[in-house]
Symmetry: C2
């Protein structure tokens, strides 16, 4: 993930501040509900926050191993599973990576816009997309779940920098 996209800047802007508060809230909520807030789980959450973007399980493992040699892939996956169940982390299927949820306060059918040039991810809660998807589901007899919808494309900065050839699939020419 981060290795293959060296362009992403790990800014610590107001978004990170908001996430930090959210994180503390999440951790607290966790404790008071019988779920256990452990060293490893906390470490995974904080590593994702520090990164400010998506990381693969093994990238997380590498980072955690620096501070605590006992980290294992299995442990990282277990922690990720825990946080996904809690709604605090999303899995990006298209890049096999994981990212902090930006609105963990409330359940939400969201969208994840992913730039396949720089790896940037933006999370939204667009009513239009959600409604259209639900209508489509109804029409076809599907009850959609609330996993965020992944939309891939090219972000503005990447287009400006000339990366991003033709968006979309090449026609079979």
């Amino acid at each position: 993930m981060s290795g293959s996209h060296p362009m992403r800047k790990p800014t610590q802007g107001p978004k990170a501040q908001t996430q930090l508060r959210t994180l503390e809230r999440l951790e607290a909520a966790c404790r008071t509900r019988g779920r256990r807030l452990t060293r490893q789980r906390r470490a995974v959450l904080r590593a994702l926050l520090a990164e400010g973007g998506a990381l693969t399980a093994y990238e997380l493992h590498e980072r955690l191993r620096v501070a605590d040699g006992r980290s294992t892939p299995a442990g990282v996956y277990r922690a990720l599973e825990f946080w996904m169940t809690a709604g605090a982390v999303h899995r990006l299927e298209s890049t096999r990576s994981f990212i902090l949820c930006e609105h963990p306060e409330s359940p939400h059918p969201g969208q994840l816009l992913i730039c396949h040039e720089c790896g940037q991810v933006v999370e939204t809660e667009d009513k239009g997309v959600a409604a259209a998807a639900n209508r489509l589901g109804e029409r076809l007899g599907f009850v959609l779940d609330r996993h965020p919808v992944e939309l891939t494309g090219v972000c503005r900065p990447c287009r400006a920098q000339g990366r991003a050839a033709e968006p979309g699939r090449r026609p079979a020419t």
Copy 2:
């Protein structure tokens, strides 16, 4: 894929007929354009057609190996890559599997509705979802590519059969 979802019936209805014609058209188109239509590529396409649903690369490899012991995972992945570039096959990121495109005649930003109980996949070209996604992309500076959007949920038959507990994520209770 098929192993984990024994409920899917491999119907050979009118859809399969349509796909067969499409397949022949695709194969012919391929030949006349300098792209080579080879034994292995044809075998992959026909295996997907015979299945009538999604298969993982290794499931394809197993099927191909029966008829031709020389099939390798690498070869299967190469053939899949070829057909995806040609727009004839879609990759389902959420299940790491591959499926024939149901409308390969024309390029399309489509949707793939995936039942996570039975593995059924329905491909659509819903204007509403496409438009909403594009509007969202514009608003955020993203030019979306044309990979189909994956929507997961539970299909009607599966809901009727009592499978499909609560759709969506459990709130962090």
